[in-house]
Symmetry: C2
Subunit: 231 residues, 2 copies
């Protein structure tokens, strides 16, 4: 069966054993693109290899990144897993409802203790939630990875390449530019609200459906034009 | 959401950590009836409690049995999980296809190293297989439990009580009687083939759809009648 080009991104994972178990769960469903952001106990981690069983190749080929942004650079569609209600204005979809998945996607998972930070989850186009028992909602990270990969491995793949979708990196560069220009213009005059405002702005732009590379070029052009007016 | 009355049966599990992780995965999807057959490291096992996280109540209430038969006594429908092809003539269903589940069911899982023995799997009415990558088919037991519970927690429940289905115990008693009578009559004259022949017989009777308590009483009557003829 043809599988989507899917990266699993573990953000600040804590235990090597869990990283190994995640690699095994991914590979059980045919996924082998593991990306790890700032693993707590450094890298390589012998406990990850030991717990990966027959998925040691996934651990050996895992890519390590300093930031979530870097790990997502080449991805066109990003899911974030989330156990709890968030204040983000983003579509939350039950894992059970996932029937189609864009190619060149990523699913990001937060650390074992706290999950993803809001600013990390805000990088995603869509939040996925696994429908769990409210008396025991906290899942083992490898079980979550197993369920998401189980669900996605049988999804229909939408290849959006023909649409020339913007990569995460292209949008990020635009958002950084926008943030910089807004900062210079005094937009964030209440410093304590800056993070929340930035998160809201990012959430607006990641909600644009089918945003293409050309669209991002247009956004850059708009930004340049507006700045000229100000000056 | 109403959940099926489902027992998870771990047969000869090896690591306490895994038993704990299975309890957590079950309880994540609202199931709390854990039955353990001959745990390798005895019971209670502090490692199981430690790894159960917020599902420690499932570990505390787990029931321990000496045999798989005992663990299944009150169940009306039994699934066995199986990663590998088996010689049993039983329906094998992909977990993805599970849409309805009878109430008073059980799912049995084998030990981490070898899975269920054929004679254990032959106790089931249906084999479930999780569709995995053939390059890495061996799943962590807690991930398997998580996926099966995830799938079953959203199934439609068939309540077969009105049909007065035979329990596992009722059928077992009949099969033991049959085995005893066949032994006495010299049916198993090639001793080395006895196990295989018994397994085939058991498989035939567990394949009877909607076998009721009344049906089992009829089978007993047939057996008694046939014996009278012989004598």
């Amino acid at each position: 069966m043809h599988k989507p080009d899917l990266a699993i991104v573990l953000v600040r994972p804590q235990l090597g054993e869990n990283i190994g178990a995640c690699a095994r769960a991914m590979f059980n469903f045919g996924f082998d693109d593991l990306r790890i952001v700032s693993p707590r106990d450094g890298w390589p981690n012998p406990k990850a290899v030991a717990n990966a069983a027959h998925a040691d190749c996934v651990i050996e080929n895992a890519k390590i990144f300093d930031t979530v942004n870097d790990a997502l650079a080449d991805r066109e569609f990003i899911y974030a897993t989330s156990a709890r209600q968030r204040i983000l204005k983003k579509e939350v979809i039950s894992s059970k409802k996932l029937q189609v998945v864009p190619s060149r996607s990523a699913v990001i998972f937060g650390p074992e203790n706290n999950g993803l930070r809001n600013e990390e989850a805000s990088l995603a186009h869509q939040l996925i939630t696994i429908p769990v028992n409210l008396k025991c909602p906290s899942m083992n990270i490898a079980s979550s990875v197993a369920i998401i990969c189980y669900q996605l491995s049988h999804c229909q793949i939408i290849d959006k390449q023909s649409l020339e979708l913007a990569t995460h990196d292209e949008l990020s560069i635009f958002l950084e530019k926008l943030e910089h220009d807004l900062s210079e213009s005094g937009f964030f005059f209440i410093e304590t609200k800056k993070q929340m405002m930035l998160q809201n702005i990012r959430t607006i732009f990641t909600r644009i459906d089918h945003l293409s590379s050309q669209d991002v070029r247009t956004l850059h052009a708009i930004l340049r034009a507006l700045k000229k007016n100000v000056i």
